[in-house]
Assembly symmetry: C2
Homo-oligomer: 372 residues x 2
């Protein structure tokens, strides 16, 4: 293996595939980046076995790629990233000397790094899946942003650590819940498909980091894996086994009380009073009358706080309801519009939060029973 | 206690005194800020018992201070900082209600925080010291920046965890060493004084954070404590007991080999090859001849690296010397000038690093014995 390439283009590709690499991989080979150099291109692979990222570098006008000799090797990600990032040279040469020793050189710098044989790297199946559809990267990014935060971090119910993507015809429904709150996003896709899969939140967050441009993403899936292909990068993640709970009947159709208010005002009020915690949780009480909207919080240890929301407009009888401040804060934070509505059916019933002019993103939060 | 004040001015004062507060204070009262409100001013105090910071807020055109009632209280630093930072109000009112309950209010927000009685706060002695001199804040900042990094982090020799300030007449010598490297700075002061004290590096670093403007700092000292007074802020720190080692004879007067080179070039070369470590230490070998200046590093596990320094100019016979890359890197980093000289007396003798045109900052590094 021997090639020469532009430093910046090469570094960007290394960063892309290294996103899949975990510092805590049980398998030593997975702490490395796999290089596969053929006559026409360089294929780089990073993986933690659940998520794998693959990119191909083909000769183009920017990368000055010249391949002198084919071959393959695995090089520790942190070393190759550090060397390529810091090297003071526009072009970099990489050459396997003998066995696993790999020379990386540019300008007045020369490094010889002990690599690993490519056959020590587990074989990963990047074969294409049957079903596929296309989506604009900004839409995919929005879906991920609006749902993953509501997944469960506990390992007791693995299926809740992912976002459920279910599709009938062109209607894709994306749901995340940790069983105390739920986020549901509906989008139209360009292909008539039927599937019901659950994608690990971790994988989706990695996908989000790679999405920065306005581009088309090709999404292919089977019942075992999902692939996101953008430009010359493929991100593949395993799916979570198990049946996702039926959440379709959780969201009420009618409400007794509706509060409309400025999203920023309630967000900063919750932010201000959330320092008052009991057992690590900030429980916030909302007192609603037609004249007033008051948020309050108290704890024996710290003290108490009261915030009046002046932009609120409320329909319904007086209501007092308590909730986990973090859940409502998280829900409001992903809503882009200025005006939001919070709709209730009583003190102990789940309530929903949404933008007043968008029914495609609906969030549900369970109230908290309090002492008062 | 009851007063009203401008939010921003008040917040800045809270941040200043809270710098002295440690999250790990053994005494609960030290996690709070002490308020002492008299008819004319508000005195705020933060301390971890070693370092104490005190500031006085007097009525002025910016702070809109109005004092309605005198009194004193201690309020948990993290709560008062969080509330004042986030509150959406230009003016803030603070009032002790009954006992220790303190009301903090502004605009539509109202908080009642459980404080602590002021008499639970340890009494701190801010009485003035006998000797004092003045120094421009930028000079003090430079001294701290150029020395504290070389102090020892080990607790075995407490005196080495501080910077020694010794003065005869107007000549102040500031020395820091961890016994493997040493940094020595000489400055003139405006007063004829004789003293020999060791200031904890931690205290000096706190002082540095408070120095941002071009202003005069009054430095007062006794054999127990040192006070830095700038504007209306006093930072006081305890001194370290014990006799500081005599370092005056460590720096050689003549050298057999002198290397002159561009500081940035060697800094980035050391930075690049420092990822090669043996037992956590990056040992770097320097090979000098009249034609070449080569840095290299190797480890069995990782591999090897070679860097050629093209700006180097060297006088003397060929020399090979090894050193801890971090020590030389740290020393070069605080030197501001472009051209630096490194002067040697042989493979196993300490060498010195300095700017080619400034003899007031001299750094000494011990070499490392290597396998090769």
């Amino acid at each position: 293996m021997y090639f020469k390439i532009n430093k910046k283009e090469f570094y960007d590709a290394l960063v892309t595939v290294s996103r899949a690499i975990s510092n805590y991989s049980p398998l030593p080979a997975f702490s490395g980046i796999k290089f596969e150099v053929s006559n026409n291109d360089i294929c780089l692979i990073g993986s933690d076995s659940d998520i794998s990222i693959k990119t191909n570098l083909v000769k183009n006008e920017h990368n000055n790629l010249e391949i002198f000799k084919t071959g393959s090797i695995v090089i520790e990600a942190k070393y190759i990233l550090d060397i390529v990032r810091k090297i003071d040279s526009e072009l970099i040469e990489i050459e396997i000397l003998d066995g696993c020793t790999t020379k990386i050189s540019g300008n007045k710098s020369e490094y010889k790094i002990n690599g690993m044989y490519a056959n020590e790297y587990p074989s990963l199946d990047f074969s294409p899946c049957e079903s596929s559809f296309n989506m604009k990267s900004n839409i995919l990014k929005t879906i991920i942003h609006e749902t993953t935060f509501a997944t469960s971090e506990k390992e007791t119910k693995p299926v809740l650590s992912g976002v459920n993507f279910s599709c009938i015809d062109n209607r894709l429904v994306c749901v995340a819940t940790d069983s105390y709150r739920l986020s549901k996003k509906i989008v139209e896709i360009d292909n008539k498909l039927t599937f019901d899969i659950t994608i690990p939140a971790k994988g989706l967050n990695e996908v989000m980091k790679s999405l920065d441009k306005q581009e088309e993403v090709k999404i292919s899936l089977s019942n075992k894996k999902i692939q996101f292909v953008l430009n010359n990068v493929m991100i593949q993640t395993r799916l979570i086994d198990g049946i996702y709970p039926d959440t379709s009947k959780l969201i009420p159709n009618s409400f007794e009380y509706v509060l409309t208010l400025d999203s920023k005002e309630i967000l900063s009020a919750i932010d201000r009073i959330s320092f008052i915690k009991t057992d690590g949780v900030s429980v916030i009480r909302l007192n609603l009358t037609t004249n007033e909207c008051i948020l309050s919080s108290k704890s024996k240890e710290v003290g108490s706080a009261i915030e009046e929301l002046s932009t609120a407009s409320y329909e319904g009888d007086s209501l007092e309801i308590s909730f986990n401040g973090k859940y409502v804060f998280d829900a409001l934070k992903v809503i882009k519009s200025q005006l939001v509505s919070i709709s209730f059916n009583g003190e102990m019933k789940p309530f929903i939060i949404k933008s007043i002019d968008d029914d495609n993103l609906i969030q549900l939060v369970l109230p908290v029973r309090t002492y008062a």
